[in-house]
Symmetry: D2
């Protein structure tokens, strides 16, 4: 009954639910702080709706994005794969973008026009976002279609290079065709994370070839179900370090490779981007020695959704933990440090295990601790 004659229903009939503390996280908004120099914009640039092989109307995608507190999305319908064609003939491939843009008005989410160029491997699937007209991408030749996307000013990234439907071993590998794209600068990014998967090999390709590190949900069904949001899960996103919250600034950030992927309690990014984010997220709030002892109580504030798993790299040993320290999300954690003598200040160094800057490589962070007492 609700959606039929909308005029009345803006007046939202609905019983306010009491504040409960049962579920894991009632407010599911994804939270990471801005860095010193950039806004940290949360984006999901690979999604589907009923306009290709997704199962929901674009309106639901925008509502999901708003609940997750995303800054920008793209509904990247398959250009060549249209399983709902019998019901939705839709000749205009920009239709999903149009409807999403309309829905975005009440959602405070930026919508970027994008499409998925859907081929067998090579080149596999590729997203072109920040395009101007999806219809013009209906080009059979796999190089020409990339050229057209680039003529439109698109940011182009390779989707799920680890997809076992296209590579049985799941090992992302550059093909000759991809080398052509790279040579012509037609390809700008690569998915290191797609839906539930992560690829060390894709990360290495990104680093070796100057590609932007991407992570996306590739959602077809519902975000809530696919990523178990009620149990504390979250969708993969690409956080873009941008100068302002506009499509242009996001594109600039993408083109300049300033991204960090947030996936399954893991942050993946180049060291020069991940470290500033970790610096913004994890701060020493205060520090003081316990009585006349030389054991310092250091209060770390973790202003992010990540539960950080850190390994002590300092010369000092810790008084309440082994060398493994866990910083709970959006909370403070006390770390007790045995500094041998009372010092005015000292450095703490930790490897952050759920940060990844290269395969098997975790950032090492140093915090200067100034003692307050």
């Amino acid at each position: 009954m609700k959606n039929l004659f909308a005029f009345l229903l803006c007046f939202t009939i609905g019983q306010t639910l009491a504040q409960t503390t049962h579920s894991h996280k009632l407010n599911r908004a994804i939270h990471f702080p801005n860095t010193k120099d950039y806004l940290t914009l949360k984006c999901d640039f690979h999604q589907h709706s009923i306009f290709s092989d997704g199962k929901v109307h674009p309106d639901i995608r925008l509502q999901e994005a708003a609940k997750d507190s995303l800054d920008a999305v793209s509904l990247t319908e398959h250009l060549e794969y249209q399983p709902h064609k019998a019901d939705i003939p839709h000749p205009d491939r920009n239709r999903s973008f149009e409807l999403a843009t309309k829905a975005a008005k009440s959602a405070n989410v930026l919508v970027i026009n994008g499409s998925e160029i859907t081929r067998s491997l090579p080149p596999g699937h590729t997203n072109a976002i920040f395009i101007k007209d999806a219809n013009k991408l209906l080009i059979q030749d796999s190089v020409e279609v990339f050229r057209e996307a680039n003529r439109q000013g698109a940011f182009v990234f390779w989707n799920h290079p680890n997809w076992i439907s296209q590579r049985k071993d799941g090992i992302a590998t550059l093909t000759d065709l991809h080398k052509v794209y790279l040579k012509e600068k037609l390809l700008h990014g690569i998915e290191v994370v797609n839906e539930h998967t992560y690829s060390d090999e894709a990360l290495q390709i990104a680093l070796d070839n100057n590609l932007t590190i991407m992570g996306t949900s590739d959602i077809h069904g519902l975000i809530d179900w696919e990523f178990k949001v009620a149990e504390g899960g979250h969708r993969p996103i690409t956080m873009v370090l941008a100068k302002e919250r506009t499509p242009e600034a996001i594109k600039e950030g993408l083109m300049n490779r300033r991204t960090i992927v947030w996936f399954n309690n893991t942050l993946i990014g180049r060291e020069e981007h991940l470290k500033p984010l970790l610096e913004a997220a994890i701060k020493v709030e205060k520090a003081s020695y316990i009585g006349s002892s030389s054991v310092a109580e250091v209060v770390f504030r973790n202003d992010s959704d990540a539960e950080f798993i850190m390994v002590n790299q300092s010369a000092y040993t810790l008084h309440e933990t082994t060398d493994v320290v866990v910083l709970h999300p959006n909370a403070t954690t006390k770390v007790f440090v045995k500094t041998l003598n009372q010092l005015a200040d000292f450095n703490l160094k930790f490897a952050v295990l759920n940060g990844v800057t290269a395969p098997h490589t975790h950032p090492e962070m140093t915090w200067k601790v100034v003692v307050n007492n």
Copy 2:
């Protein structure tokens, strides 16, 4: 990526989530027991998909139903209201049923063909379910369309007679047109519960006119969001007391008015149907006197999702509660009864406040307690 080439993906890629006890109810399956004489079949006969003004594909509706452990659903698209027409021209009004039927194969849910006849009041909106061909219901005359539905063997019920878009006072009232339907036996049920609303007046109309008591979600968006499933909420359903789990038996149950509505922790039904359900749900598991005292410990088992709020109507007073006793869902609760002397057996009588048999009327239930020690 997942839904594109399905052949591989039946092999479910996905990380098993650890057993957590964080969320309110991990298994959201709605549970009520069968009665002594009938199966208790959980049904939602008023839902929408993208084939009228809903926001999801029928596949999602079937997945929701499977998660809620429903026995039967009907996707009752508006015949006359087609806001997605620009994208989905779909001349065939049985299309939603066809797709739902296909999706049902993996969902173990019965799908009933139905449509919503969508008119201003009178007669307002009406669902016809168990129809044979929705296309034939595209008839302008509001009596003729009911006659056609009945010719097809439909079970026909009046939707949200309390809808404030059609009646500003929200007071369900029979119109002259409805009296015509009743006289011709064209109308068989009435929604006492629709989405978030309940109507005492609709319940009285059902009782006065021999109509089946109905409760439906009328979902357009997502069940999870609309009914706050992660926080312990549930959609409204109609439970049909049926002889077997078949469409025919469900229709027979509906036609003979054997329904109980489950809505917002409340059960609404005729006394002759609600009482057997309460008898099946609430049982005295055991009873014994505490030592040599005449205080009996009576263990009630509540085999249902309802948290029952009961008021003592017995002559005996209770030892651990006032006259209000709460039976937690799917659990046992001990009630201590002061019987003055040790008895071999005795009766306990409670009014069940979240059972409703008529406006302001709650069933009174008597349990015979046989003492075990």
Copy 3:
């Protein structure tokens, strides 16, 4: 190691736990608002420590009280029952009070000197609180000991008159000896709630004989375990309506019978005291009609720990519930009322089922709703 040389350990070594929302209520402080005319002081006047048959030191009792946010406690050790005598000979019966007073300094809890006069029935067990010297109560004669307590200015109340160890039927009944006490005004209160038990008969005795209604934990072990605090449970308390937060004002409130018992989500008190508490706890925050309809959305704020179960007694029917409405604790709840026409204001009347003013008697409350739009 911690408690040995205390000087250092004021500096609290301990890792701050992250904010989690797992447990039912992280802050277990019991909350009820003050009434219009009085402070609502939370008291537990029946507790035991190792100085009679309890299992913990008085320090733990004060820590429990602080966690529960109590205003006042009394450790009412049995005068005549000393099972730990072999280990704790303690000739001074004021010792528990002394230690509790010392512990109270850091707990912000008032400690009242009290003792339990422990006899077989009649008179059973009796608490005398606000005494000056417990040692002087070691008097064998059951009338003389009451006289001495009264000479010391004590407030005297009958403990667990429903105790099945002393009355096999659990039916609280005045004995001839109690009638003597009443005639001499030596007895001022009676436990209607003790630990896990409630007595309708004790409530009736209180009302018939002008006695103060009392509820206590009678704790011997741990409050956390006995009342399942981690799962959302709470100990029984007596809330005293007092003019200020002092022992004298509490005694004045008790002597003038201004108490409400909070027990197992139930509030028990005389109508003249319970109603002002309900008025303070439940307020209409705002109200407005939905669009041009005559259905009013009324927002109730429940500023208390009680989950109120209310039954509609108004002429108006409700739009989203049957006649049973549940107000969640420390939250707002919307109630939708069908007033037939748009009114400037109207009255809503509910019986509050988990309020009790006499056996089987629940207060009826009326709220005037002023419509804002």
Copy 4:
């Protein structure tokens, strides 16, 4: 009222609480499996009651132990520190053991006689457990008292060598006196974990000097509060690998250094003991390739309370995680491995970060995976 006349109260008056899933872990029993060769017995050998400076009666200690599912405890009252002396003169230093033994009858927990020899450093505090008569340990000379404990057959361990009240730097260091003990074989173990603290230096001392690795709660107040049990916390324990569940077998295990400490989600032990426990706790339940791909889905079962943080050391990369894998407690977790080709079997190697075998040293475990399809 409950504990006074016990005869009746075995009949447990109490309302069964409904099954709720709100709190973190309703059943707080600590769980680790037996190893291939030994029983894994959960022990806490450093606790206090009112018989030294604790705040509860020994009965509460046994109830806590039963709730935590411990196999053995010792109430190690300070011999020389008796702050409750004014109230509890107790000349017999075996009294706490006697009462604990009595309480143990209903708790299924073994009680070991023990005492804490309480000196300034050196030697600091020392526990002697498996003693025969605590009174005979009231010897001033710090060597003689150790000799007497050893004559009684005691297992003797150094408590909190990192205690900042005795060493301002918190750095555990062998003193000359300890070297005397070691030379005479009077000292057998050392606390690497005490209450909330852990000491890398103590662990190194244990390894260098052939001492048993110990971890204890050193509880004085309540286990529930000190270790935040309701929020998922647990007390530190020493797990002894023993041939049977008897005091003799536990002592044999302690004397032969077969211990693993469970502390704050960390397991600390010698490699030869920790590895068999990890092998028993973490098993490959099944494995199969996804379709025709060479990505294997490996199901690990973690049959323990530890949430294992593991770092991949294999040549293979993973399909759904970086090199960090988390195994949830008492649950299965799927790990997807890219083996390049379909293999009949293969090895997976992980470092287990919350296992510790030496300072900064984590065990590396190899699992042979046999593929089922």
